[in-house]
């Protein structure tokens, strides 16, 4: 079977992606938990093939202020990983890691680099899980940071994949900290070619 569009994925392949998301985010949560020295919960990942409008509504509307971390994936797999963090989540990271109990703002260089470092480590553990599961060689770029309206942040992957499909495949995980109820999402956005390779290496193509 050849994949041309995200909508072509069958139930079994979606299950496989869900499992990949599960293992990836499990690894990332462990990494986060070790860094913060406290428990981090993750919800069962949602795998959805959605259009931009629906995703932004799900995340609180296009004008919701969020922090976005973007990392591109290259090597055998191509695509991107995006972390979307609530500001509270960034505050939590900062107070745990650097003891800064103030509020996070984008001009805070130390805060930005701490958040980026956390994103980097989480993304690496996510990608490592996928690499060892599929046997593919995957490289990760350093993260790029943006704090703005979630609609504007999400327009970046949406535009990038607009020539492939009107829909985006989001493998969405929700990380939660029981104490502060700060949620964050990680979106794995593979290119269609990459999906095909993942499915082939898992014997599901």
């Amino acid at each position: 079977m050849t994949l041309n569009d995200y909508g072509d994925l069958n139930e079994m392949q979606l299950d496989a992606l869900r499992e990949i998301g599960n293992i990836g985010s499990g690894n990332a949560a462990t990494a986060l938990s070790q860094m913060l020295e406290r428990p981090v919960n993750i919800a069962v990942p949602q795998i959805t093939v959605l259009d931009y409008q629906t995703v932004t509504e799900k995340l609180g509307g296009p004008e919701e202020l969020m922090i976005g971390l973007l990392l591109t994936i290259s090597g055998d797999l191509t695509g991107m990983i995006m972390f979307l963090l609530q500001k509270e989540f960034a505050n939590m990271i900062l107070s745990d890691l650097v003891g800064d109990i103030g509020s996070f703002d984008e001009d805070d260089e130390m805060g930005c680099s701490a958040v980026m470092e956390v994103g980097n480590i989480m993304a690496a553990s996510y990608i490592n899980a996928i690499a060892s599961l599929t046997g593919l060689r995957i490289e990760l770029s350093p993260p790029s940071f943006c704090m703005d309206m979630v609609g504007a942040i999400l327009s970046v992957p949406t535009i990038y994949y607009a020539d492939i499909s009107d829909k985006i495949l989001f493998i969405e995980d929700e990380f939660n900290n029981t104490v502060d109820h700060a949620a964050s999402h990680v979106l794995l956005i593979p290119e269609v070619d990459a999906l095909q390779k993942m499915m082939t290496s898992l014997g599901l193509a």
Partner: protein
């Protein structure tokens, strides 16, 4: 409060009789506002990509590209009595949301969108009278059919009027 008409990503629409057009959270996309001061017919298109060249554009994808969206919007406005030779344009968006992304097709898409929109407007001989483009932040754009004013709102930097 005048009626608010929402324009989503890859969509375009018109407003008249004091109605207000709004498009939320422009990132690298560009919002194009066109106005005929005589008939007070206003139009707004929220485009994602510079050109439809190489794509087979289906009906509902007309609003995705700068060239097809502007043509579509002009058609709608003409139907309401707007005259193309009287139109003026105000544009916003085309930001680079993520600095330092190495992937070049990703890093300059905002700029390419703005360039394509300007070229397309020039082709239709529509002058650009106000512009708030580039930089690194998202914008919500309001366009008032009452007087052709444009308001830009940013999540962190406040708002401006054009």
């Amino acid at each position: 409060m005048n009626k608010m008409i929402k324009v989503g990503i890859s969509e375009f629409n018109i407003a008249k009789n004091g109605e207000v057009l709004v498009t939320y959270a422009l990132g690298s996309c560009v919002g194009i506002c066109l106005y005929d001061a005589r008939t007070k017919v206003a139009g707004l298109a929220h485009i994602m990509l510079p050109s439809s060249e190489g794509f087979s554009v289906l009906g509902d994808q007309e609003g995705k590209f700068a060239d097809t969206a502007i043509r579509g919007l002009l058609r709608l406005m003409a139907r309401e009595g707007a005259l193309q030779s009287r139109l003026t344009a105000k544009i916003a968006g085309g930001a680079q949301m993520f600095a330092g992304v190495s992937n070049s097709s990703l890093s300059n898409i905002g700029l390419r969108n703005v360039t394509a929109v300007k070229a397309e407007l020039m082709k239709h001989r529509i002058p650009i009278v106000a512009e708030d483009t580039g930089k690194n932040y998202g914008r919500t754009q309001y366009f008032y059919s009452l007087d052709g004013k444009m308001t830009i709102k940013s999540a962190i930097k406040g708002e401006w009027h054009y």
